[in-house]
Symmetry: C2
């Protein structure tokens, strides 16, 4: 486990997408973050106190979280130097980058010298089984999408907050590096060997008997020609009772592929339900989550209403407008209402 | 490249399924095999001369092919001892086992001492790209299946032989360890990282401009809950013009999963065509290949005729009955007949 509280790293980051992991931590684990570390040329802030490594240690920080990504996921010299300084100040270091901390001799030596720990969250555990598709107890919700990076992690985390606020048991199950750092655990699905995709999800979300929900973070899209295999294994491994469809209404084409248009929402839902039914015959769609962060509020609300009408499903922007309509639908479909429970006595 | 000719290893093997790689080599690369090596307790033969390592070297063998699999893909002590003896006699060693030759210190030392090479064909090359789905030139055929291990590799290799016999350019593209050993190259798809499945197939079967066909060996099944992610990425990466559906008519349930019934042939075809269309909008089914090795010949022929009628596609057992009906269909759909070519002048 990664020790908190955390210092979030921004470094020299120059693009907003590159800091999404640090921003995710600041949004969903704010109480566990003591500050942010950034150089003078970094134009971004997470609205946390800016501090150096010694100052962060004095404020109680235990781990520097390298919550950034650069082209290719590599570690630049400046990043390695900063991480080494952080270790010398007494911090552990956690990274979700493709390049591994353990492959940087400078950091391995510094960690040994100062008795600190390096966490590479993109290393899958070594004991992932082949999936078996056996029906298992418990309730599971999976977020699916028209494309990569359309808000599946945010929607899943917002659902966890919203369900817990209603007294429902619900646990976020992370499948990507940002989610893993936020949750403190999970499976880095993009680093798992192809034959073990569904097995990794069966392991991540085993049977549960407490009436609670596992809320599984989706990845990729059945309509993305680079990553649909991952999405397929994720659907089969999840044995989802409920799907929430995520979409970015202003995305012009499939991420990274200008020659691939976005699929329609109804088409996406239908394809996902069809694939999901192999391991979960009674799977239902329970809502649509739109990322409307780039739209005026009035237009966003109109689009949610239109989408809800068109698909016959509650539709919201989970982050901007909350998740109540989706939780209402989940409760209708799966949770006995107090009256119904009484009536059945 | 793995140097031929080969000595095929049977060792102490006690089950027929476990020797399928050695048998595949004996069937499809017979001219390149000088003999078989087996201990007295092995009840099988490939109908090749039985010989020891020194005798094989004298007969011209360059490489011992460990074409067997045991539970878990591990290397037993006796296998390691045999491989070390083979190296001492002057043979290279090639293996498709999950366990790697390079992880056996005894074999690494022996290879160094005797100047021999160890080939682990389950190691994917390190430069596999993420798939991009861009349309590429050339014609590609992919074998798909109702399940794992229903004869996709045999069907694909028989199609290569049959198409070449008709003067068509056609090249088998291997995606599993047996196919790789037979072809002398390919990608071990079950060892590729999840995010790179479709990219691995784009790399295996790049654009071609000579009018020839790439015949891509299928893996798994869209209806197998353990491996459908691999099959999905394979469909997208292949950009197949033509699909051949493979099936084992006596398989009682999905391989290894008694709780999963086999899907129907029409259902399997429809699902595969739907997934394939994302990257290859005009994909067509061109035939059905049944593995009838466990059926009486008359019943097998009747089943092929009935299946052809039901699906409106040529149906054959490629290994027992040849592939002519399927090649006829391919020619009709894709190759201009001499008369048509003349008429269009």
């Amino acid at each position: 486990m990664i020790a908190g509280p955390y210092l979030l790293y921004l470094g020299h980051s120059q693009d907003e997408v590159g800091i999404k992991t640090s921003r995710g931590m600041a949004v969903f684990r704010r109480d566990d973050c003591v500050g942010e570390f950034r150089h003078d040329d970094c134009p971004f802030t997470l609205d946390l106190p800016r501090m150096g490594f010694d100052q962060a240690v004095a404020a109680g920080a235990k781990t520097l979280v390298l919550g950034i990504a650069n082209a290719g996921g590599t570690m630049g010299e400046d990043l390695v130097r900063d991480a080494a300084d952080a270790i010398a100040s007494g911090l552990d270091v956690a990274s979700g980058l493709h390049s591994r901390l353990r492959d940087e001799p400078v950091l391995v030596a510094a960690a040994r010298e100062h008795g600190r720990t390096l966490h590479d969250v993109r290393d899958p555990r070594p004991d992932i089984p082949v999936g078996n598709g056996k029906p298992r107890a418990g309730r599971r919700l999976l977020t699916i999408g028209t494309d990569c990076s359309v808000g599946k992690m945010y929607a899943t985390l917002c659902l966890e907050q919203g369900m817990r606020a209603r007294g429902l048991k619900a646990d976020f199950r992370a499948t990507g590096q940002t989610g893993i750092l936020i949750a403190g655990g999970g499976v880095p699905l993009d680093a798992v060997i192809a034959d073990f995709i569904s097995g990794a999800i069966e392991q991540l979300s085993p049977e549960r008997h407490d009436g609670g929900w596992d809320l599984i973070e989706g990845q990729g899209s059945l309509f993305h020609p680079s990553f649909a295999g991952v999405s397929t294994g994720l659907l089969h491994g999840s044995q989802a009772d409920a799907l929430v469809l995520c979409h970015d209404p202003v995305r012009p084409h499939m991420r990274g592929l200008p020659h691939y248009p976005m699929p329609g929402l109804a088409e996406t839902l239908e394809a996902n339900l069809r694939v999901a039914r192999l391991t979960s015959p009674h799977v239902q769609a329970v809502g649509v989550a739109l990322n409307t962060s780039k739209m005026p509020r009035a237009a966003a609300e109109r689009l949610c209403a239109e989408t809800a009408d068109a698909l016959g499903l509650p539709c919201t922007d989970p982050f901007a407008m909350g998740v109540d309509p989706i939780i209402d639908r989940i409760t209708e479909c799966f949770e006995p209402s107090p009256r119904a429970a009484t009536a059945s006595l």
